[in-house]
Symmetry: C2
Subunit: 149 residues, 2 copies
Protein backbone atom coordinates (compact mmCIF):
# COMPACT_ATOMS: atom_id res chain seq x y z
CA UNK A 1 0.00 0.00 0.00
CA UNK A 2 1.47 3.32 -1.05
CA UNK A 3 1.76 5.67 1.91
CA UNK A 4 -0.62 8.60 2.00
CA UNK A 5 0.49 12.20 2.22
CA UNK A 6 1.36 14.15 5.34
CA UNK A 7 -1.36 16.11 7.10
CA UNK A 8 -1.09 19.83 6.27
CA UNK A 9 0.37 21.86 9.12
CA UNK A 10 -1.75 24.46 10.90
CA UNK A 11 1.41 26.57 11.02
CA UNK A 12 1.29 28.76 7.91
CA UNK A 13 5.09 29.11 7.79
CA UNK A 14 5.54 25.33 7.77
CA UNK A 15 2.88 24.92 5.07
CA UNK A 16 4.29 27.70 2.91
CA UNK A 17 8.03 27.57 3.52
CA UNK A 18 8.56 23.94 4.55
CA UNK A 19 9.93 20.97 2.65
CA UNK A 20 7.07 18.66 3.59
CA UNK A 21 4.67 17.67 0.82
CA UNK A 22 1.28 18.00 2.51
CA UNK A 23 -1.38 18.72 -0.13
CA UNK A 24 -4.52 20.46 1.09
CA UNK A 25 -7.24 18.36 -0.53
CA UNK A 26 -10.61 20.15 -0.41
CA UNK A 27 -13.87 18.86 1.05
CA UNK A 28 -14.26 16.68 -2.04
CA UNK A 29 -10.76 15.29 -1.57
CA UNK A 30 -9.34 17.18 -4.55
CA UNK A 31 -6.57 19.60 -5.43
CA UNK A 32 -6.57 21.61 -8.65
CA UNK A 33 -3.92 20.76 -11.22
CA UNK A 34 -2.68 23.19 -13.85
CA UNK A 35 -0.96 21.42 -16.72
CA UNK A 36 1.66 23.21 -18.81
CA UNK A 37 3.88 22.07 -21.67
CA UNK A 38 7.51 21.61 -20.54
CA UNK A 39 8.80 22.99 -23.82
CA UNK A 40 7.29 26.48 -23.75
CA UNK A 41 5.20 26.61 -20.55
CA UNK A 42 1.98 26.93 -22.56
CA UNK A 43 -0.98 26.10 -20.32
CA UNK A 44 -2.71 23.02 -21.73
CA UNK A 45 -5.54 22.22 -19.32
CA UNK A 46 -6.94 22.42 -15.83
CA UNK A 47 -7.93 19.26 -13.97
CA UNK A 48 -8.38 17.78 -10.50
CA UNK A 49 -6.45 15.19 -8.54
CA UNK A 50 -7.45 13.13 -5.57
CA UNK A 51 -4.84 11.55 -3.32
CA UNK A 52 -4.53 8.44 -5.48
CA UNK A 53 -4.14 10.42 -8.70
CA UNK A 54 -1.39 12.61 -7.21
CA UNK A 55 0.39 9.59 -5.74
CA UNK A 56 0.23 7.71 -9.05
CA UNK A 57 1.49 10.76 -10.93
CA UNK A 58 4.48 11.10 -8.59
CA UNK A 59 5.24 7.36 -8.62
CA UNK A 60 4.82 6.65 -12.35
CA UNK A 61 5.76 9.97 -13.97
CA UNK A 62 2.58 9.80 -16.05
CA UNK A 63 -0.25 12.24 -15.30
CA UNK A 64 -3.32 10.84 -13.56
CA UNK A 65 -6.36 12.89 -12.57
CA UNK A 66 -9.75 12.47 -10.98
CA UNK A 67 -12.58 12.83 -13.44
CA UNK A 68 -15.38 14.68 -11.66
CA UNK A 69 -17.87 13.94 -14.45
CA UNK A 70 -17.16 10.21 -14.40
CA UNK A 71 -16.23 9.96 -10.68
CA UNK A 72 -13.27 7.82 -11.64
CA UNK A 73 -9.51 7.82 -11.71
CA UNK A 74 -8.40 9.10 -15.10
CA UNK A 75 -5.11 8.23 -16.76
CA UNK A 76 -5.05 11.11 -19.21
CA UNK A 77 -4.54 9.96 -22.79
CA UNK A 78 -5.37 6.31 -22.20
CA UNK A 79 -8.00 6.42 -24.95
CA UNK A 80 -6.47 8.99 -27.29
CA UNK A 81 -2.83 8.01 -26.88
CA UNK A 82 -2.02 11.55 -25.78
CA UNK A 83 -0.41 10.55 -22.49
CA UNK A 84 1.30 13.23 -20.42
CA UNK A 85 4.87 12.42 -19.36
CA UNK A 86 5.61 14.49 -16.28
CA UNK A 87 8.90 16.40 -16.14
CA UNK A 88 8.15 18.43 -13.03
CA UNK A 89 5.52 18.70 -10.31
CA UNK A 90 5.18 21.94 -8.33
CA UNK A 91 3.02 22.90 -5.36
CA UNK A 92 1.71 26.38 -4.73
CA UNK A 93 2.21 28.40 -1.55
CA UNK A 94 -0.73 27.00 0.40
CA UNK A 95 -0.47 23.55 -1.19
CA UNK A 96 -3.97 23.38 -2.63
CA UNK A 97 -2.85 23.52 -6.24
CA UNK A 98 -0.39 21.54 -8.32
CA UNK A 99 1.47 22.58 -11.47
CA UNK A 100 2.55 19.81 -13.81
CA UNK A 101 5.06 20.40 -16.57
CA UNK A 102 4.55 17.70 -19.16
CA UNK A 103 5.46 16.39 -22.57
CA UNK A 104 2.42 15.11 -24.45
CA UNK A 105 2.67 11.89 -26.47
CA UNK A 106 0.65 10.89 -29.52
CA UNK A 107 -0.83 13.81 -31.43
CA UNK A 108 0.62 16.38 -29.00
CA UNK A 109 -2.98 17.31 -28.20
CA UNK A 110 -4.47 17.68 -24.74
CA UNK A 111 -8.02 18.91 -25.32
CA UNK A 112 -10.84 16.44 -26.01
CA UNK A 113 -11.76 18.68 -28.97
CA UNK A 114 -8.48 17.58 -30.57
CA UNK A 115 -6.60 20.81 -29.97
CA UNK A 116 -3.20 21.20 -28.31
CA UNK A 117 -4.61 23.22 -25.38
CA UNK A 118 -8.07 23.51 -23.87
CA UNK A 119 -7.59 27.29 -23.93
CA UNK A 120 -8.04 27.62 -27.71
CA UNK A 121 -10.33 30.67 -27.61
CA UNK A 122 -9.42 34.20 -26.64
CA UNK A 123 -11.72 37.01 -25.56
CA UNK A 124 -11.93 39.78 -28.16
CA UNK A 125 -13.73 43.10 -27.91
CA UNK A 126 -15.03 44.60 -31.14
CA UNK A 127 -17.50 47.44 -31.48
CA UNK A 128 -18.47 47.17 -27.83
CA UNK A 129 -19.19 43.47 -28.14
CA UNK A 130 -17.22 40.82 -26.25
CA UNK A 131 -16.88 37.45 -27.94
CA UNK A 132 -14.60 34.44 -28.30
CA UNK A 133 -12.24 33.80 -31.18
CA UNK A 134 -10.70 30.39 -31.85
CA UNK A 135 -7.07 30.53 -32.92
CA UNK A 136 -5.97 26.91 -33.09
CA UNK A 137 -7.12 23.89 -35.06
CA UNK A 138 -7.66 20.28 -33.98
CA UNK A 139 -4.62 17.99 -34.27
CA UNK A 140 -6.76 14.86 -34.31
CA UNK A 141 -10.37 14.04 -35.08
CA UNK A 142 -12.18 13.50 -31.77
CA UNK A 143 -14.99 11.55 -33.49
CA UNK A 144 -12.59 8.88 -34.67
CA UNK A 145 -10.83 8.66 -31.29
CA UNK A 146 -13.62 8.82 -28.72
CA UNK A 147 -15.91 6.25 -30.21
CA UNK A 148 -17.76 5.64 -26.93
CA UNK A 149 -18.86 9.29 -26.59
Amino acid sequence: MTPSFNTPSDDKSVLEEGTELSPRFDSNGLVTAVVADSRDNEVLMLAFMNEEALRLTIDTGIAHYWSRSRSALWKKGETSGNLQMVDEIRLDCDQDAVLLKVRVSGSDATCHTGRRSCFYRKVVKTEGETRLETDSAPLFDPKSVYTDH
Copy 2:
Protein backbone atom coordinates in the same frame (compact mmCIF):
# COMPACT_ATOMS: atom_id res chain seq x y z
CA MET B 1 -24.81 48.85 -15.01
CA THR B 2 -22.42 46.61 -16.91
CA PRO B 3 -24.26 43.83 -18.71
CA SER B 4 -23.92 40.34 -17.31
CA PHE B 5 -22.65 37.39 -19.31
CA ASN B 6 -24.66 35.13 -21.57
CA THR B 7 -26.20 31.98 -20.15
CA PRO B 8 -24.13 28.91 -21.08
CA SER B 9 -25.73 26.84 -23.81
CA ASP B 10 -26.93 23.31 -23.10
CA ASP B 11 -25.63 22.44 -26.54
CA LYS B 12 -22.07 21.23 -26.03
CA SER B 13 -21.01 22.18 -29.55
CA VAL B 14 -22.18 25.78 -29.01
CA LEU B 15 -20.44 25.95 -25.61
CA GLU B 16 -17.20 24.47 -26.94
CA GLU B 17 -16.99 25.69 -30.51
CA GLY B 18 -19.04 28.88 -30.40
CA THR B 19 -18.02 32.52 -30.31
CA GLU B 20 -20.29 33.42 -27.40
CA LEU B 21 -18.61 34.20 -24.08
CA SER B 22 -20.78 32.32 -21.59
CA PRO B 23 -18.70 31.43 -18.52
CA ARG B 24 -19.94 28.48 -16.47
CA PHE B 25 -19.77 29.88 -12.94
CA ASP B 26 -20.00 27.09 -10.35
CA SER B 27 -22.50 26.77 -7.49
CA ASN B 28 -20.48 29.41 -5.60
CA GLY B 29 -20.62 31.73 -8.60
CA LEU B 30 -16.95 31.26 -9.45
CA VAL B 31 -14.71 30.22 -12.33
CA THR B 32 -11.08 29.22 -11.82
CA ALA B 33 -8.44 31.55 -13.23
CA VAL B 34 -4.94 30.43 -14.18
CA VAL B 35 -2.54 33.35 -14.40
CA ALA B 36 0.56 33.15 -16.60
CA ASP B 37 3.28 35.66 -17.44
CA SER B 38 2.89 37.01 -21.00
CA ARG B 39 6.64 37.03 -21.50
CA ASP B 40 7.43 33.36 -21.02
CA ASN B 41 4.08 31.70 -20.15
CA GLU B 42 5.34 30.83 -16.66
CA VAL B 43 2.34 30.02 -14.45
CA LEU B 44 2.21 32.57 -11.63
CA MET B 45 -0.88 31.74 -9.59
CA LEU B 46 -4.31 30.21 -9.45
CA ALA B 47 -7.30 32.26 -8.33
CA PHE B 48 -11.07 32.55 -8.63
CA MET B 49 -13.33 35.05 -10.35
CA ASN B 50 -16.97 35.82 -9.84
CA GLU B 51 -18.98 37.56 -12.52
CA GLU B 52 -18.00 41.04 -11.33
CA ALA B 53 -14.28 40.19 -11.19
CA LEU B 54 -14.31 38.77 -14.72
CA ARG B 55 -16.28 41.72 -16.05
CA LEU B 56 -13.92 44.24 -14.40
CA THR B 57 -10.90 42.36 -15.74
CA ILE B 58 -12.28 42.47 -19.28
CA ASP B 59 -13.36 46.11 -19.02
CA THR B 60 -10.26 47.56 -17.29
CA GLY B 61 -7.45 45.30 -18.50
CA ILE B 62 -6.30 44.91 -14.89
CA ALA B 63 -6.79 41.54 -13.15
CA HIS B 64 -9.53 41.33 -10.54
CA TYR B 65 -10.41 38.20 -8.57
CA TRP B 66 -12.75 37.02 -5.86
CA SER B 67 -10.99 36.37 -2.58
CA ARG B 68 -12.61 33.30 -1.05
CA SER B 69 -10.85 33.84 2.29
CA ARG B 70 -12.01 37.44 2.58
CA SER B 71 -15.28 37.04 0.64
CA ALA B 72 -14.47 40.20 -1.24
CA LEU B 73 -13.60 41.51 -4.67
CA TRP B 74 -9.81 41.57 -4.94
CA LYS B 75 -7.88 43.90 -7.23
CA LYS B 76 -4.65 41.93 -7.24
CA GLY B 77 -1.64 44.07 -6.28
CA GLU B 78 -3.61 46.94 -4.80
CA THR B 79 -1.62 46.65 -1.54
CA SER B 80 1.73 45.43 -2.88
CA GLY B 81 1.82 47.45 -6.10
CA ASN B 82 2.18 44.23 -8.07
CA LEU B 83 -0.81 44.86 -10.32
CA GLN B 84 -1.42 42.49 -13.21
CA MET B 85 -1.90 44.15 -16.60
CA VAL B 86 -3.85 41.74 -18.80
CA ASP B 87 -2.60 41.08 -22.33
CA GLU B 88 -4.92 38.21 -23.12
CA ILE B 89 -7.91 36.37 -21.65
CA ARG B 90 -8.69 32.84 -22.78
CA LEU B 91 -11.55 30.48 -21.98
CA ASP B 92 -11.22 26.72 -21.85
CA CYS B 93 -13.33 24.25 -23.81
CA ASP B 94 -16.25 24.01 -21.38
CA GLN B 95 -15.93 27.64 -20.25
CA ASP B 96 -15.42 26.98 -16.53
CA ALA B 97 -11.81 28.13 -16.46
CA VAL B 98 -10.06 31.30 -17.58
CA LEU B 99 -6.41 31.77 -18.56
CA LEU B 100 -4.97 35.26 -18.12
CA LYS B 101 -1.70 36.27 -19.70
CA VAL B 102 -0.37 39.21 -17.73
CA ARG B 103 2.51 41.58 -17.16
CA VAL B 104 3.13 42.17 -13.46
CA SER B 105 3.95 45.70 -12.25
CA GLY B 106 5.96 46.67 -9.19
CA SER B 107 8.39 44.03 -7.97
CA ASP B 108 7.34 41.57 -10.72
CA ALA B 109 6.14 39.31 -7.90
CA THR B 110 2.77 37.59 -7.71
CA CYS B 111 2.95 35.42 -4.59
CA HIS B 112 2.12 36.89 -1.17
CA THR B 113 5.40 35.29 0.03
CA GLY B 114 7.21 37.81 -2.20
CA ARG B 115 8.15 35.36 -4.92
CA ARG B 116 7.51 35.74 -8.64
CA SER B 117 5.22 32.69 -8.79
CA CYS B 118 3.17 30.88 -6.17
CA PHE B 119 4.62 27.63 -7.55
CA TYR B 120 8.08 28.12 -6.04
CA ARG B 121 8.50 24.56 -4.77
CA LYS B 122 9.02 21.43 -6.79
CA VAL B 123 8.50 17.84 -5.74
CA VAL B 124 11.77 15.92 -5.45
CA LYS B 125 12.26 12.23 -4.73
CA THR B 126 15.44 11.25 -2.89
CA GLU B 127 16.15 7.91 -1.25
CA GLY B 128 12.51 6.91 -1.42
CA GLU B 129 11.38 10.11 0.26
CA THR B 130 9.20 12.69 -1.46
CA ARG B 131 9.69 16.29 -0.36
CA LEU B 132 9.50 19.88 -1.59
CA GLU B 133 12.42 21.99 -2.69
CA THR B 134 12.22 25.77 -3.01
CA ASP B 135 14.05 27.14 -6.02
CA SER B 136 13.20 30.83 -6.07
CA ALA B 137 13.74 33.69 -3.64
CA PRO B 138 11.41 36.51 -2.57
CA LEU B 139 11.57 39.69 -4.68
CA PHE B 140 10.09 41.82 -1.89
CA ASP B 141 9.72 41.53 1.86
CA PRO B 142 6.11 40.56 2.60
CA LYS B 143 6.41 41.81 6.21
CA SER B 144 7.10 45.35 5.08
CA VAL B 145 4.33 45.28 2.46
CA TYR B 146 1.42 43.51 4.15
CA THR B 147 1.39 45.45 7.40
CA ASP B 148 -2.23 44.53 8.16
CA HIS B 149 -1.60 40.76 8.07
